[in-house]
């Protein structure tokens, strides 16, 4: 067992965990942040994507101990109060989700894609960069639309700030 400290969604947290605990299990089982999901055993599906120090990471491939001292953002931490993050709003407005299970990971990956490419995104790039996230419901059609829409919204939102 080890004690670790990190920042999750802007709040300092500490936990006593087994050394083998993965970040996703720290979030779900110890911190009750169940928005981050587990969809596979092999780091293929991306339902567990969170941001560590601003970069998208599959939280099932990271030991919780490796995240010690870092700043982790989960799906629960991106809206500003009642106001959805532009990516969340774009997914809702473009029907970019159905069962909602892959959605948190998809949104966290998508935000990182937009951050890395700025407003310069096209369909081909979005499809290529979403390769690490599997959705079984939407056929990706509306997810791609959502990401492209959000890229514009995020640009505007940054300009406004």
């Amino acid at each position: 067992m080890s004690a670790i400290k990190l920042t999750v969604n802007g709040k300092a947290v500490s936990a006593e965990i087994e050394d083998r605990t993965l970040l996703v299990h720290l979030l779900r089982d110890h911190l009750n942040l169940t928005g981050t999901h587990v969809g596979c055993d092999t780091s293929q599906c991306g339902a567990c994507v969170v941001h560590i120090d601003g970069r998208a990471v599959k939280s099932c491939t990271v030991l919780a101990g490796q995240a010690a001292g870092s700043s982790v953002t989960t799906i629960e931490g991106i809206a500003k109060g009642d106001e959805l993050h532009p990516m969340q709003a774009a997914f809702r407005d473009n029907h970019g989700l159905q069962c909602g299970f892959c959605t948190p990971g998809m949104i966290m990956s998508a935000i990182d894609i937009v951050h890395r490419h700025g407003g310069k995104l096209d369909e081909e790039t979005v499809r290529h960069e979403l390769e690490g996230n599997i959705c079984r419901c939407t056929g990706y059609h509306n997810i791609v639309k959502s990401v492209l829409d959000a890229a514009g919204r995020m640009k505007m939102s940054r300009a406004a700030e």
């Binding site: 596979c40 055993d41 092999t42 029907h95 989700l97 159905q98 949104i107 979005v126 059609h141």
Partner: protein, 779 residues
């Protein structure tokens, strides 16, 4: 149409919780004192369980219990059942072997559970499972359907000699043979419909909680039909009587058929919860999903089609071997029979059909309904045959289809179904226009000049949704009725709760069902709440599968709404001192026509509950229920056309365009309907190009993770062009047909037809991987 009424593209109510991570799926549930189950599963496809030694495991930290198959049988927990009885040609009933929740003696597929460890933590249960020693004696394995019925094959169940479950037929053999005798042309082919794994993104899970004081169980489960789960767990598995078992299916992360069934893990969790006196949680991992979720498809078919001299189809003969795996899952028997062979006419006027289906046991994961369930298999077979026939007869594939379309409705097929309505030509026209079918030869020539092989493939599908009526399916062997129930509760302040037996696991019922209320009463959907998925809240329901939620579930709500409206109008008339027949409902107001008098819905509701001033003899309150049993299936249909290019040097396929023209009747929310089509197309295209569940000769699954089983990703799929033509379904008052499975039913054939058109030969089976396509091109 109001802004939130029927036909409006209303953004989904449920999306706020899903996009913010506040969905509540089964694995998110924690109960004080909860323990964790980890199943011990056989690594052998066929073996005797000689002994299970759990003594070392019991000494390990956190182990609460190790429970075995022998114990569950000794406690008289029932075997798993298949509820649709099929009768073989010779009049004998289907031959079903026993399927215990955990195997006490014999295992018949890799992954079948033999024992379960209950631990204080998930990891402790998993660690201890490593220390349980199971001694197996391996038995001969048969994983291939043709090998399983060959003389001398290993036998799976003593009840099913030769591994044959049933040898069934439908149609008129003499009439079909007669058609072939007089045929001008005959087209014959063998078609494989490959095995798939449904792979909902949320793995199956269960939380079982036995309350000793009340002798009452609660089960949270990833189910598409919690009420049927409760019924089966009570009536057949001896878990608990219905009033002592609450089944809740909260947010469920996709189903696609695989979550219709009651699986061993739910039964074991419930049983174990009583055994250990504590709540038990089991969450499957993805490998367990590959091993134990019911698989889909897996048909081997030979078919012959007879044409007259004018290229009209005069007969169809089909012989299918269906691999049902090692055990018969809940609805498995119905899928390759009544859900498959009855759709073999497709959109065509085929006067004589004869189909035989031989269902076979093999040492593989059980097979049951997966998105479309039997209808994709029928559509794929028929549409590959139509394309092949067009090439053999040297006519345009679209025109051959058009010539044979059914144009008069209602249309009685020779295999049970009575199609109520449709306009197949309209869908074909729409799709051909959208893809510029006429301009294809020019595009093909241009591609050729660039070294690419371009192909176009048409697929005209029909499906039968909203399986019904109960009396009819009962006469065909179904063990359940296929109606739906609803209750509409208007609260004293005028907000509304809709209780439905349908279950939403991605389909957006919380929005579409509210749209009906918005349309009828003019109240915003924010004032309407859908209650579903809880057997303690909703009295009964049949759940969601087979695209039945709108046609059956929503109609049940409409029937209950009509009763509420009738009573509300009586109250309003009394309050306004007007005649009941003069009351109309507009935008949430009850108005007396010809006057300026009106009363708002909340005041009517309040009057119903204060009961101070109601018509004489009227019962207080404003809530009504309805059970709705449809009079017929609904028949969505459409045309899909795929245009693609094949790189002859690599065999890789690239989409140029994919168009889908569907007729779903009235659309409640076009945005949601389109989303359903997109998802179905992805699954059908996934089958055509990528997905394949492979077992080796020893029954070992070769594709048991996302590393090996190729799931379609964003980069594998095109954007889709959709259009809708509409004939209103006459069988229900809303005119709706169902849209959930269409994409998966119609798209596979369009893709394979396009590739075979591109490469100029028919030597191709699904999935058309680059390797297979390359070999088809280069021999």
């Amino acid at each position: 149409m109001g802004v939130e009424g029927i036909g409006a593209r209303v953004v989904r109510k449920e999306d706020r919780r899903f996009t913010t991570g506040r969905g509540r799926y089964v694995d998110d549930i924690k109960i004080l004192g909860m323990t964790y189950a980890h199943f011990i599963r056989t690594p052998h496809a066929h073996a005797k369980v000689k002994s299970i030694d759990s003594s070392a495991a019991m000494q390990m930290p956190g182990v609460v219990a190790v429970l075995t198959g022998k114990q569950i049988v000794d406690d008289k927990v029932g075997n798993l059942i298949c509820v649709w009885a099929i009768t073989s040609k010779d009049g004998t009933p289907m031959k079903m072997g026993a399927w215990p929740a955990m195997a006490p003696e014999t295992v018949r597929f890799v992954g079948q559970a033999v024992a379960v460890v209950i631990g204080e933590t998930k990891n402790q249960a998993r660690d201890a499972a490593e220390a349980v020693v199971v001694d197996y004696e391996e038995l001969p394995v048969v994983a291939d359907v043709k090998a399983a019925i060959a003389p001398g094959a290993p036998q799976l169940h003593p009840e099913a000699p030769g591994n044959i479950i049933y040898d069934w037929h439908i149609g008129d053999q003499a009439a079909a043979d007669g058609a072939f005798k007089s045929a001008a042309n005959i087209v014959s082919m063998d078609v494989i419909n490959n095995r798939l794994v449904p792979n909902a993104m949320e793995p199956r899970a269960a939380v079982a909680d036995y309350d000793t004081a009340e002798d009452h169980y609660t089960l949270y489960t990833t189910s598409q039909n919690p009420h049927v789960a409760r019924l089966v767990l009570s009536a057949f598995y001896n878990i608990a009587p219905e009033h002592k078992l609450r089944v809740i299916a909260p947010d469920v992360g996709g189903g696609f058929g695989s979550k219709i069934y009651i699986y061993p893990e739910e039964m074991v969790s419930l049983w174990a919860s009583k055994k250990v006196g504590r709540p038990v949680k089991w969450t499957g991992d993805r490998s367990e999903a590959f091993l134990t979720d019911a698989h889909g498809r897996d048909h081997l078919t030979h078919a012959d089609m007879a044409f007259d001299k004018d290229n009209r189809i005069i007969g169809l003969r089909v012989k299918t071997h269906a691999n049902l795996g090692a055990y018969m899952s809940l609805f498995s028997s119905s899928v390759p029979t009544y859900l498959y062979a009855t759709l073999l006419p497709g959109q065509y006027n085929i006067p004589a059909i004869y189909a035989e289906v031989i269902a076979v046991y093999t040492n593989t994961t059980p097979v049951d309904a997966y998105r479309g369930a039997g209808r994709p298999e029928a559509s794929y077979l028929l549409e590959r045959m139509m394309e092949t026939a067009a090439r053999q007869l040297k006519v345009d594939p679209a025109e051959l289809r058009r010539k044979n379309f059914i144009t008069q409705f209602p249309h009685q097929t020779p295999v049970i179904m009575a199609y109520d309505i449709g306009d197949f030509g309209a869908s074909l026209d729409s799709a051909m226009k959208a893809i510029d079918y006429a301009g294809f030869p020019t595009r093909k020539a241009k591609a050729k000049s660039e070294g690419k092989l371009r192909g176009i493939g048409v697929s005209c599908y029909i499906e039968a949704c909203g399986i019904a009526p109960s009396k009819a399916v009962g006469s065909l062997g179904a063990g359940v009725g296929l109606w739906e129930s609803a209750e509409v509760r208007v609260n004293p302040v005028g907000t509304i709760e809709i209780l439905t037996g349908s279950h939403s696991h991605g389909q957006g019922h919380e929005t579409t069902f509210c749209q009906l209320v918005a349309e009828r009463l003019g109240v915003p959907i924010s004032q309407v709440q859908i209650v579903h998925g809880d057997a303690d809240k909703v009295q009964f329901g049949m759940g969601t599968y087979g695209s039945r939620s709108a046609a059956v579930g929503l109609t049940a709500i409409l029937k209950a709404m009509e009763k509420v409206e009738t009573k509300a109008k009586k109250i309003a008339a009394h309050q306004l001192e007007a005649s009941e027949s003069d009351i109309v409902i507009e935008n949430g107001e009850f108005k007396a026509t010809g006057t300026d008098k009106s009363i708002a819905l909340p005041m009517v509701a309040l009057a119903a509950y204060t009961a101070h001033n109601l018509p004489d003899g009227m019962e207080p309150g404003l809530k009504e229920g309805a059970f709705y049993d449809p009079t017929n299936f609904t028949f969505p249909a459409g045309t899909y056309i795929c245009e693609l290019e094949v790189d002859p040097s690599t065999g890789k396929t690239s989409f140029v365009n994919f168009v889908a023209a569907d007729d779903f009747g009235r659309l409640i929310n076009p945005m949601i309907v389109e989303g359903q089509v997109h998802g179905g197309l992805a699954q059908g295209i996934g089958q055509a190009l990528l997905e394949h569940a492979v077992f080796d000769a020893n029954g070992q699954p070769v594709t048991a993770s996302f590393m090996d089983y190729a799931m379609p990703r964003a980069d594998d799929l095109p954007s889709f062009k959709l259009s809708h033509t509409t004939t209103l379904c006459p069988g229900n008052p809303l005119g709706v047909k169902g849209c959930g499975e269409a994409g998966a039913i119609g798209s596979s054939a369009a893709v394979i037809n396009a590739i075979t058109d591109a490469i100029g030969n028919n030597k191709l089976e699904m999935p058309a991987t680059p390797d297979r396509v390359w070999h088809a091109i280069h021999g």
